[in-house]
Amino acid sequence: MTDIVPDKESVPGATVALDEREFTIEARAQWKTIIRRFLRHRLAVVSLVLLVLITIWAFFGPIFWKYDYFSLNTKQKSLSPSWDHPFGTDDLGKDGFSRIMRGTQRSLEIAIIVSIITTLMGVTIGALAGFYRGWVDSILMRFTDLILVIPLLVLVAVLSAGVPKAPWYTIPVLLGIFGWPLMARIARGEFLSLREKEFVEAARALGVGNRRIIFKHILPNLAGPIIVNATLTVSGAILLETALTFLGLGIREPEVSLGLLIQKGLPAYSTRPWLFWFPAMAIVLVSLCVNFIGDGLRDAFDPKQNRVRA
């Protein structure tokens, strides 16, 4: 019995034409498939474009805009929106447009810090628990349950109040440190099922060590759930920061975040509604965009979506 397709090296003058014809089909890398599927999700693509534009506006807009976010101007107090001040001014004459740019920038930064910390902590803890099982799993998961039953908002509020003159990044760091349980559970579940896969056993049979199996062999298989969850954490973090700041426990002046702008704008809701509505819209817009992107990513990573192969 011989091979169906003869090996070129072993059979001199083998059917070259057949071989070449077979390989005109280009390999479709997994990432290409994922990007293709994501692009089919129109709402997600629109959201991604919008979020990129908002991010550019928030981070680079202040360089070009004529007003800054902290200068007082008593001559221009409480102006309604105009060409000069598109989002109006507040009771101290600070320009609304530049304040929302700055607030969006801070809110995005906060969200990304929270997302990075929760992902790193959650994935590490979940991976260890799921991979080693046994007592490691028990200890880590009971610890996770403990964190999960403490109301995050109250905990962070209390802790941040305890730090006088806390810099702005105290809030996202605290939110991140206590916000990882969901990610840990997701990672643990994935690890529990992946560690039993034969390719893990095959790696073991090759003599690959545990650490390398965890990080090099199993972790990349979790890219989908991790990316999706990290994205959804971003929008969650924006809303959480808003809630905290709205309660007066989060970002404090002279720092600016979208939550802070809403808190400042609310008392003037009936007389100067623009102070409330513009930051509120910014929050809704950003978190909607992030959620739609998360949806699109989830669909793109879901292998069950394979049935439509464009």
Partner: protein, 335 residues
């Protein structure tokens, strides 16, 4: 001294229901150039034996006995020293090639990983070796195929990749745990042919674990028949196939479906005993057509039969000489 010598290997797993004695007192040896077949039905301890040799059993497993590799008892080695054997001096291929490769990496990455785990060489050199290995197992256009992902390969090609991976560091021993079970018959033949060719070229020893008697007959020199965790018959393929000295083996041979035979398939009545709280006596006595009182009281030893190199674990082995034992099962099922 043999390449691999397993002496009195016992493996048990403590569970909530009791201790599962998965492997009891298994001994065998494999030399370079040998192909040892291990057959038995599901749960007979074939895979656990091979996992014990590879050191892949979970930590809860209690292992006793000796596994001598080139004279070194690898069961006594520290984890780290043990790792130097695994994948380097002995390789393993698994049953299901569809799940044995990591879906997120290219074939080349995975082969390089196998090489680089045990050799301190550059990525480029490892990649070159990967191409070489693919060619060795007969994958055409290996220099292009090396960058493909597992999902672009068929089951047979993936199993070839697994063989290439196991061969990456030129081991002396290859353990093939049901390498063809998940493949269809034509691909099965190609894989076996690849294994045979590699064995002929490199002169490695192979342990071939299967429940397909045809595969063993075609590939092996010696074979072990396992039942309920212990070896019940040990001999050359010819001896066992033509003159089985243990009723279980005879029953297995009689159960092979034959083309053209009419009627129902022959079978061995009953099921394998639970490996928890094993009763004394021969473990096959509950299903054996030749059972007598002594079978239920004491477990027979694995002793030489009328042929000196042919061992069987049966009190009534003498009664099988010159008898077509599979016919006994036939009468049983007919009656």
């Amino acid at each position: 001294m043999s390449l691999l010598e397993v002496k009195n290997l016992c493996v048990s797993f403590p569970t909530e229901d009791g201790v599962v004695e998965a492997v009891r007192n298994v001994s065998f040896s494999v030399d370079r150039g040998d192909v040892l077949g291990i057959v038995g039905e599901s749960g007979s301890g074939k895979s656990v034996t091979s996992m014990a040799v590879m050191g892949l059993l979970p930590r809860s497993a209690r292992i006793t006995g000796q596994v001598l590799y080139d004279g070194v008892d690898i069961l006594k080695l520290e984890q780290k020293q043990r790792g130097a054997y695994r994948g380097n001096r002995m390789g393993m291929i698994f049953q299901d090639p569809m799940t044995s490769l990591n879906p997120v990496y290219t074939i080349g990455w995975q082969l390089s990983e196998a090489v680089r785990t045990h050799n301190n060489i550059s990525k480029k050199a490892a990649k070159a070796r990967a191409v070489e290995l693919l060619a060795l197992v007969g994958i055409p256009q290996s220099s292009k195929r090396v960058d493909a992902f597992p999902h672009e390969f068929s089951g047979g090609m993936r199993q070839r990749v697994m063989i290439a991976m196991a061969m990456a560091n030129n081991p002396d021993l290859l353990i093939a745990d049901e390498p063809t079970t998940a493949l269809d018959v034509t691909v099965q033949a190609q894989i076996l042919e690849t294994l045979e060719r590699i064995q002929a070229e490199s002169g490695i020893g192979i342990i071939l674990i299967t429940h397909d008697l045809g595969v063993v007959a075609g590939m092996s020199d010696r074979m072990l028949v396992m039942y309920a965790g212990s070896v019940v018959e040990d001999g050359t393929v010819d001896e066992i196939f033509y003159e089985p000295r243990m009723p279980y083996t005879a029953g297995l041979l009689g159960a092979i479906p034959r083309a053209g035979a009419a009627g129902r398939l022959n079978q061995i009545k009953g099921t394998t005993p639970s490996l928890i709280n094993l009763k004394p006596g021969c473990k096959f006595s509950g299903r054996c057509p030749l059972v007598v009182d002594v079978c239920q009281q004491t477990e027979p030893e694995l002793v030489p039969t009328d042929q000196p190199a042919h061992l069987a674990r049966c009190h009534r082995t003498k009664d099988l000489i010159g008898v077509d034992a599979s016919a006994m099962f036939l009468q049983e099922t007919a009656g």
